[in-house]
């Protein structure tokens, strides 16, 4: 009787698991099926490296969007990563334990704030600030970078703290017992020992930044051009899909799917690097 129940549960869970996985697989296949033929027909080089995006004229060069995505992501890394790693170091090495136990979950909660809210703050506060202090339209590469930098903080902080905390206490004690200060111990031992986890946290954060759409549409300005300064308005790959999908048909529609394929490949590469880095960390123990 009990055995039958066990088998039944197993079967139900397996069905659920398989349908979830097949849904994901189907979406992937659909995107590739819609996008890949276009890339072959239009030419990979023209698609990726041409700056001419004019769907009405049948021109589909996404180079400006690729550049914008790369710059915005890079900007998010410059703003978010040092801040996030610093917070992680402070919370795990300096802050009293009870403080960390309260602050870490609070920071993780930031990941639950809808991106439209981040975007809204960007539009209402950040963009006017940039406009009046640095010039330009305000809605810009800089605004996008800062907002994304803030959005990746929970990922960077949370995973960095986990990997710093995973460094055995005995390393710290050994270092302090040789007369090292806390800071020397942190930068000569603890960070070195948790380096792969910290790098993984940043890369996972970047994966989130590349894929972020709503907040970026709201703050980055969305003009199709290769940015010459941080104050220029830019349109990322994600923004491009979201902005044009409602009226795209035919080739145009396929071009947007192909843009999705490019994004998909980019994020897969980032996540693979991150998981290799994380695996390196666990296998060391």
């Amino acid at each position: 009787m009990k055995l039958v129940g066990e088998k039944g549960v197993r079967r139900i869970l397996m069905t659920v698991a398989f349908s979830a996985i097949s849904a994901l697989l189907l979406i992937t296949l659909f995107i590739i099926n819609e996008g890949l033929p276009f890339i072959f027909r239009y030419g990979l080089k023209d698609f990726l490296l041409s700056s001419d995006w004019n769907p009405a004229a049948g021109k589909f060069g996404i180079f400006p969007m690729i550049t914008a995505s790369l710059w915005v992501t890079f900007g998010a890394m410059i703003t978010g990563a040092p801040l996030g790693v610093a917070v992680a170091i402070f919370l795990s090495e300096y802050a009293p334990r009870p403080m960390m136990k309260v602050v870490k979950p609070t920071i993780e909660l930031l990941a639950a704030i809808p991106s439209v809210v981040y975007g809204f703050i960007g539009v209402m506060v950040l963009a006017p600030f940039i406009r009046s202090y640095f010039g330009g339209p305000g809605l810009s590469l800089l605004a996008g970078s800062i907002i994304l930098g803030i959005m990746i903080l929970p990922t960077v902080i949370s995973i960095s703290i986990d990997s710093i905390m995973a460094v055995p206490r005995s390393y710290r004690e050994g270092s302090l017992a040789l007369g090292a200060t806390t800071w020397q111990t942190i930068h000569m031992i603890t960070i070195k020992a948790s380096k792969s986890g910290i790098i993984a946290s940043i890369i996972l954060g970047l994966g989130r930044a590349v894929g972020e759409t709503m907040a970026v549409i709201m703050v980055a300005g969305n003009s199709v051009n290769i940015p010459h300064s941080a104050l220029d308005s830019v349109r990322t790959l994600t923004a491009n899909i979201a902005l044009e999908m409602s009226y795209a048909t035919g080739m145009h529609r396929q071009a947007l799917f192909a843009t999705g394929v490019v994004l998909f490949v980019g994020i897969i590469i980032l996540n693979s690097i991150a998981s290799v880095a994380l695996r390196k960390r666990t296998s060391k123990r």
Binding site: P96, R97, P168, S170, Y171, E173, G174, S175, L176, A177, L178, G179, A180, T181, Q184, M188, I189, K192, A193, K284
Partner: protein, 258 residues
């Protein structure tokens, strides 16, 4: 006995030391001398406070939140819990070898010169010399001289523990504290580390915590027996193991307790 003890210089002296972990009274008015260039052993059942006492000697207990220490621990003529003592300086003078070998996840060479780098030395030639001298001092130079750039974590356990001793020798401490340094090692490796201890005692003052009474009797000059946070008896090792004054000590030594 009192006479011979007075002739040799006290390198360290613990006076009326009390230690609390939060509300737990871990050490109760402990006093003990640490004689220069001698090996002092602390024995007692688990939880008796011997490791805690050892960690007081280089203030490693400072790392545990909620620890409160009263009383004095003198190093030469300076109270190590006093205002004038910089804890990083103290730990350079009173080094520690831990129970589990804890080499850093760096190369063997980087492990040995770590203490020098921390102290601000950058001269590569000087560090090479110190590394060689320290590894020789820990009797492992021949074993590692061709693989100094290898990760220290790939060494066998006893070599790891010796590396931990070597990296301590590199900063030339005055006192070496050893917290059950052989408990992770097999009998042969243990024997070698004990021989090394006897050799080191010519130049260093050593305090060792051990749960192994034979080890204490083999290597130490003085032994303190602790129980429930109190120093029950402290004396010449031979006296402790042949005719202890306290009944509690005798019961522990003869295996009736602990």
């Amino acid at each position: 006995m009192a006479n011979t003890m007075a002739e040799i210089k006290n390198k360290m002296r613990v006076e009326g030391l009390d230690l609390y972990y939060g509300k737990f009274h871990a050490l109760t008015s402990v006093s003990m001398p640490v004689q220069e260039n001698k090996i002092t052993a602390l024995i007692g059942p688990s939880g008796c406070g011997k490791s805690t006492l050892l960690r007081c000697l280089n203030r490693m207990n400072d790392l545990i939140p909620g620890t409160k220490v009263t009383g004095q621990v003198m190093l030469d003529d300076q109270d190590i819990y006093g205002q004038a003592m910089e804890v990083t300086d103290l730990r350079k003078r009173v080094g520690m070898v831990f129970q589990r070998p804890n080499p850093f996840p760096l190369s063997i060479y980087e492990n040995v010169v770590y203490g020098l780098k921390v102290a601000g030395f950058r001269n590569r030639k000087m560090m090479d010399e110190v590394a060689e001298r320290s590894l020789k001092g820990a009797w492992m130079w021949d074993y590692v001289k061709d693989k100094l750039d290898q990760s220290a974590l790939e060494l066998p356990l006893d070599q790891q523990q010796r590396l931990c001793i070597a990296r301590l020798l590199a900063i030339e401490p005055e006192v070496i504290l050893m917290d059950e340094p052989c408990s992770a090692l097999d009998p042969i490796a243990t024997m070698k580390v004990e021989e090394l201890m006897l050799e080191l005692a010519k130049n260093y003052t050593i305090v060792i915590v051990t749960h192994n009474m034979q080890q204490a009797s083999r290597v130490s000059d003085y032994t303190g027996y602790m129980l429930l946070g109190k120093m029950i008896e402290f004396n010449d090792t031979r006296v402790i193991f042949t005719k202890p004054k306290e009944k509690l000590t005798e019961e522990y030594i003869s295996g009736k307790y602990g």
